[in-house]
């Protein structure tokens, strides 16, 4: 009986587990292996170089700079998305008229790809010429046209990059907050009203926000993980026929050019990927521990 159950377990789980092993664990191990070799343009290298790739990557100003870009990007995108999606959820939750309409409108961009969104941002809103939407609006207030994506001082490109992601993702996180708001027991609000708490800031601070803690933790975790994976909008907004500018290069964009660009340096790229994977894992586990994510109920 026991053996038959084991057999059925593997009938159900086996195909998935085999695929996951082949397409996630094997590439990971392969990558670790490659990272110790001089692998230009080849996946079966013969020249062992030890930790050279790692030291080269860590000494490479552009790679370290890409990590700084990520930090800066995270510092922008996490708090801003958090605040916007929470505000949207609170407003949509309380509006009495056309609630489904508002929810849909804010969620709709989630169906758009970064490629399409970047196209609108780059070619229509922030295209840096006078007829662009942003510059037209600036013009109404007497401002001069700004070359949004190619100005590094002040770094206007951050506004473009952050607003794309904000537009695409705020609705998704709003849905998570809305789900959290639905789960708050109305009794809590009634009790607060009996105690004389005026609706508004006090209730928000002492009831709503504490009750949303679990959701907030999950949202912040997701925001940071997603920021680490930023590639699509950077690539599509900033690169053109001449290549990619030296500024605003997050880690994945840098790895893409290192491993698959002209040099095809797979050893170096693999070392970078391993370093990045380690950072992501450490940050994720650390953050989950710190925010006590593991203590929510296991069926949640």
């Amino acid at each position: 009986m026991r053996r038959r159950r084991a057999l059925w377990f593997w009938v159900f789980v086996g195909p998935f587990a085999a695929g996951l092993t082949l397409f996630t664990y094997v590439p990971l191990l392969w990558s670790v292996g490659l990272s110790f070799f001089d692998a230009h343009n080849t996946v079966t290298p013969t020249h062992f170089v030890g930790l050279d790739n790692y030291t080269a990557m860590l000494r490479d100003g552009a790679f370290v700079g890409s990590l700084k870009t990520f930090l800066l990007f995270t510092a922008f995108i996490v708090p801003v998305t958090y605040l916007l999606s929470l505000s949207l959820a609170l407003m949509v939750n309380r509006v009495r008229w056309a609630r489904a309409f508002f929810r849909s409108v804010f969620f709709l961009p989630a169906a758009c790809s970064y490629v399409v969104a970047a196209l609108v941002w780059k070619m229509s809103i922030f295209n840096g010429v006078r007829f662009g939407l942003a510059n037209t609006v600036l013009g109404w207030f007497g401002g001069d046209p700004v070359a949004w994506l190619s100005t590094t001082d002040p770094p206007w490109y951050w506004l473009v990059i952050v607003s794309v992601r904000l537009w695409l993702q705020a609705g998704f996180y709003m849905i998570l907050f809305l789900a959290g708001l639905q789960r708050i027991d109305p009794v809590l609000y009634e009790a607060a009203a009996v105690d004389g708490a005026r609706p508004g800031w006090t209730v928000l601070r002492h009831i709503t926000l504490p009750q949303l803690r679990a959701t907030s933790v999950a949202v912040v975790l997701l925001l940071v993980i997603n920021a680490f994976q930023a590639f699509d909008e950077f690539y599509n907004l900033l690169s053109d026929a001449r290549g990619y500018p030296p500024y605003a290069r997050p880690p994945l964009v840098y790895l893409y050019y290192t491993a698959l660009g002209q040099g095809q340096n797979l050893g170096l790229g693999s070392a970078g990927a391993v370093i990045l994977a380690l950072i992501v894992a450490v940050v994720t586990v650390g953050q989950a521990r710190w925010l006590k994510l593991g203590r929510t109920d296991p069926d949640g």
Binding site: F12, F16, F107, A111, V116, V120, K122, I175, L176, A259
Partner: protein, 277 residues
């Protein structure tokens, strides 16, 4: 006095919501406006909110342009998104059910093995995965674009959580009737789990249609381009004419908007029960 204040607050909130909603809709409007404008209207030195005349011919022009493999890339995207969705649903629902319901000594170890891969985001493994796929000779093939993406730890996790909370009575009755795990799953469990299939399926479909980095890396020949890669190559090379580019973008999001509007409720339900909070 208090009543007036509350009403004023409500009106203010509604006004703010409407303003934000308009702001969120502007990019969609721009896509449509530019897609149906002539080149001159898009780049006119004076901003116009409405194009002079609507050019429905732009759609024809896009598909007739021999320098742009757009129809081919649409077909590729459709094949990839459908195959990825069906394959992911099959593989991860089976695995999720096995992990949730079939008692086995090492089930926990297997589950942690699955969870562990969530810590390493797929995007970070694109270099080694590229290496693997190229050594299999799958570069620029639909196989290479589909098969490696079929094993979603996220989908498996969602199915497992869902089946853990699934009422056992139905399956018990089926077992009493002499059905084994396999037939119980197909005849009893699947028909009663449609919401989670719809939710995960929609999320996977959107993700597959919109994904960019993997198709960019694997789909190197034009014949293996997806819609996203095709659009991106136009924006970075700047040879395509603007109105064609925008109409291409509109065509590329239409299928998704359709899926999205039909299944919106399921996505919301799926996101809510995805077990992340």
């Amino acid at each position: 006095m208090d009543d007036a204040l509350v009403r004023a607050g409500r009106a203010l909130r509604l006004a703010l919501l409407i303003a934000l909603a308009l702001l969120f809709l502007i990019p969609f409007y721009l896509l449509l406006r530019n897609g149906l404008s002539s080149e001159q209207d898009i780049t006119s030195p004076e901003w116009t909110f409405f194009p002079g005349e609507l050019k429905w011919g732009n759609v024809r022009e896009l598909f007739d342009d021999p320098s742009v493999p757009f129809a081919r890339s649409l077909l590729n995207s459709a094949l990839i998104a459908i195959a990825t969705t069906l394959g992911t649903l099959l593989l991860s629902s089976l695995a999720g059910y096995g992990l949730a319901r079939i008692p086995y000594r090492h089930a926990n170890k297997v589950f942690y093995g699955v969870l562990g891969t969530l810590l390493v985001p797929a995007a970070v493994t694109f270099v080694p995965s590229f290496v693997l796929v190229s050594s299999l000779g799958w570069i620029s093939t639909l196989r290479g674009l589909i098969v490696p993406t079929l094993f979603s730890a996220f989908a498996c996790f969602v199915f497992r959580q869902y089946f853990l909370g699934f009422p056992r009575e139905l399956e018990d009755a089926a077992q009493v009737d002499g059905l084994g795990y396999w037939r119980t799953y197909w005849l009893v469990v699947v028909p009663n789990a449609r919401p989670v299939f719809a939710a995960v399926g929609t999320i996977v479909f959107l993700g597959a249609w919109n994904s960019f980095l993997w198709p960019l890396v694997i789909g190197q020949d034009q014949s293996a381009w997806t819609v996203q890669v095709a659009l991106s190559s136009f924006t970075t090379s700047q040879v395509i004419r603007l109105h064609e580019l925008f109409v291409a973008a509109v065509v590329s999001i239409l299928p998704l908007l359709l899926v999205f509007l039909c299944f919106q409720r399921w996505i919301v339900a799926g996101v809510e029960r995805s077990g992340i909070d």
